[in-house]
């Protein structure tokens, strides 16, 4: 997607978001004790943001922003460019979803192991090395936090049953 189009979409999205939040300011509870209502500051921000978004949209429509010719390839190109970042985010999301079950020790070790394999390759030898590094790195950090700093990290259902 060209930068010009992306900017139009981004400006329109931001404008819509501003409208949604502005509408939400009317649902903020009014109190009898405060001199200044809790909705005053957010409204001041949102009005400024709305004006800026309109300016951004106008600039985008007039083609004021440079078109990014470097990448191309549409959405597939975008996914290809940000493949590594998207993989990391996806695995991190998975780690968070499974955290209540796997806990911090198993979950973070698996997270690191998966990130290593997706980014570094899936060969048998590599997987063994990745597994060892992940286990040592996360095991050490978990031990430092649990026993050294006395931080209660999520234990997870699996370890609790075990």
């Amino acid at each position: 997607m060209a930068r010009t189009n992306r900017d139009i979409v981004a400006a329109a999205f931001l404008l819509a978001l501003t409208c949604v939040f502005y509408a939400a300011t009317f649902t903020i509870r009014k109190t009898s004790f405060g001199t200044v209502g809790s909705e005053v500051w957010p409204r001041a921000i949102l009005i400024s943001q709305g004006v800026l978004c309109i300016l951004y949209l106008a600039n985008a429509l007039r083609g004021r922003y440079p078109t990014d010719h470097g990448r191309g390839g549409g959405i597939a190109g975008w996914f290809s460019t940000y493949r590594n970042a998207l993989i990391c985010f996806a695995i991190y999301g998975l780690f968070l979803f499974t955290l209540p079950y796997l806990g911090m020790l198993i979950g973070s070790t698996l997270f690191v192991f998966l990130v290593f394999n997706f980014l570094g390759g899936w060969g048998v030898r590599r997987m063994a090395v990745h597994g060892a590094i992940a286990a040592v790195a996360m095991g050490a950090m978990w031990a430092v936090f649990t026993f050294g700093l006395r931080v209660i990290l999520p234990e997870g259902e699996i370890l609790r049953i075990w």
Partner: protein, 554 residues
């Protein structure tokens, strides 16, 4: 009084455990700063949980060690690999890397280390002398003035941190909006949670900052699939020996560049803007303009290393001046430091230095001392850095991401903070790819609460909005804010368009107005001087027929 405070702070600071912790902090900062993608922000957040059990002075001294170490660590990667470890060492690579390639890596590193040291020491001295004075001025500020200061901080950050002012300002307002989510601090009313329970308390400050800045930075560093699988330095690379004696001679030989760049660094730090990432480029540019041999810049000249390295370390002192005296962070790293201080129940404000002199001077002294420790530790950490750089980038990324998660969880023991990290990491990456600068958003998140609190105080005291224009300091910051909006255009078009000839004089004359409104004799005298000087500059331009640079060359 100052001596008494310094002695009291020294008594608390010069203990074996505190010194040992500072050494560890500097070492951790040096290694973190040296690894591209591993920012000082991450290093401080990871250090924070370790400081919970320490006394405030120990905890703060450790974090200041990480801060100073991180600033200096960036030069190792920049000089030896050509890839700056941190944004504040970008300009160091322009001459540091060529000098290393010419066979003088030890000298290049030495010049970088000693320039960093002298820059840091100069700014530490200025921090100790200027911060209490600025805090005294800060005591004159009312809520109107603080709100105007926050607005100025946001406009200047937006105008300095990106090519596009509108995008910068939108990022700033988005940051302010994020700070409003959750329970309102003044009335306790819930806002923008949309019925989602975990958001009712709002987003925790540090996960938002780490997600926005550090997470997105780390992930954009591994975009290149081939590069992600390579180590930073080839296997077999060895640590070089830093040539200290020759480096000190080179740095002192160019003392003019050192002093000028350090002052540029301190001034950039005092401004609530983009900090070291700007000061190192600015100092490099000024050094090149002032040099007798500008053609040597970019080929490995010592001046090209001295200027950026002294400036970026001096920026830290400048940023600490504003943070300690006014409670306004000077850049992203000091924003994180502010959050870290708050976790230790230390809330910087104009009264902080006078109320807590032992702690305040302890911070000043720790910053001063950290620069000395940094010089001593650099040679040791260089070996560790060489080892770390032989690890493949994706391995470092995976481990750092997981460590950040654990570090963030340990701050509040809340799983939702990990979700916050993810959400703002995604948002940060999207914003970066769309060309939105992240610094204004981060500053918006940090300053949002301060701005709202002061708006409430101002409107509770009086509903007269003209007070924003009739109170001298408020007017001063609003004028600065208005002129800062045009600053990027001024920089781009300086000497090419006629209005740029008037811009500095017009700003000085406008700023003289609130100075005239202030009490006493000193400030109105300064204002008179500013007006006289501006009128003289304008008269000179008029005598030359408003000639532009291109016309002069012709």
């Amino acid at each position: 009084m100052i001596i008494e405070n310094i002695l009291a702070a020294a008594d608390a600071l010069f203990t074996v455990p505190t010194m040992a912790l500072m050494v560890l902090g500097v070492a951790a900062g040096l290694i973190a700063g040296a690894i591209p993608g591993f920012t000082i922000t991450m290093a401080i957040v990871l250090t924070l949980p370790f400081t919970f059990g320490m006394s405030p002075i120990q905890g703060l001294a450790t974090m200041l060690g990480v801060f100073v170490g991180g600033l200096s660590g960036g030069l190792m990667a920049g000089i030896l690999t050509g890839i700056p470890g941190t944004p504040s060492s970008v300009a160091t690579t322009f001459d540091g890397f060529p000098m290393a390639r010419k066979g003088q890596p030890g000298l290049a590193l030495g010049i970088g280390v000693w320039a960093s040291f002298f820059g840091g020491v100069i700014s530490a001295v200025l921090l100790m002398t200027l911060a209490p004075q600025l805090a005294r001025i800060g005591l004159e500020f009312g809520p109107w003035d603080f709100l105007s200061l926050v607005l100025f901080a946001l406009t200047i950050t937006a105008s300095l941190s990106g090519d596009n002012l509108v995008k910068g300002l939108i990022a700033g307002t988005l940051g302010l909006l994020v700070a409003t989510v959750g329970s309102d601090e003044i009335n306790g009313v819930e806002r923008f949670s949309f019925g989602f329970e975990p958001v009712e308390q709002g987003f925790a400050f540090l996960p938002v900052l780490v997600g926005l800045f550090a997470f997105s930075q780390l992930l954009s560093d591994i975009q290149d699939r081939q590069a992600a699988q390579q180590p930073l330095m080839p296997p077999g690379a060895e640590a070089v020996r830093i040539e200290h004696a020759q480096a000190i001679r080179e740095v002192l030989k160019h003392w003019g560049h050192l002093i000028r760049s350090s002052l540029i660094g301190v001034f950039t730090g005092i401004l609530p803007a983009a900090g070291g990432s700007i000061s190192n480029i600015l100092a490099y540019d000024q050094a090149k303009k002032a040099s007798k041999t500008p053609e040597l810049f970019g080929t490995g000249t010592p001046e090209g290393i001295i200027a950026p390295e002294s400036a970026n370390n001096a920026t830290a002192g400048g940023a600490l001046i504003t943070m300690m005296a006014l409670g306004i962070p000077g850049d992203i790293v000091t924003a994180i430091m502010l959050g870290a201080l708050m976790i230790h129940d230390v809330i910087p404000s104009p009264t902080f230095i006078s109320d807590e002199p032992r702690l305040a001077y302890g911070i000043f002294l720790a910053f001063f001392l950290a620069n000395f420790i940094m010089v001593g530790m650099q040679a040791i950490c260089l070996r560790a850095f060489v080892l770390v750089t032989q690890v493949r980038m994706y391995i470092l990324t995976g481990v750092i991401l997981a460590y950040c998660g654990i570090g963030i969880f340990a701050l509040n023991n809340i799983v939702f903070d990990l979700w916050t990290l993810l959400i703002f990491g995604v948002l940060g990456l999207i914003m970066k790819t769309m060309g939105f600068p992240l610094a204004p958003m981060i500053l918006g998140v940090v300053l949002g609460h301060i701005a709202e609190l002061n708006l409430n105080r101002a409107l509770s005291t009086s509903d007269d909005l003209t007070l924003f224009l009739t109170r001298p300091w408020s007017l001063f910051f609003l004028i600065l804010g208005a002129f800062s909006i045009f600053f990027p255009h001024y920089q781009k078009l300086r000497g090419k368009v006629r209005w740029t000839l008037i811009y500095p004089s017009a700003m000085a004359i406008c700023l003289a107005v609130p100075l005239f409104m202030m009490q006493g004799a000193v400030r109105p005298t300064i204002a008179s001087g500013m007006i006289m000087f501006s009128l003289w500059i304008l008269w000179r331009h008029q005598q030359r027929g408003w000639e532009l640079v291109d016309e002069v060359r012709e």
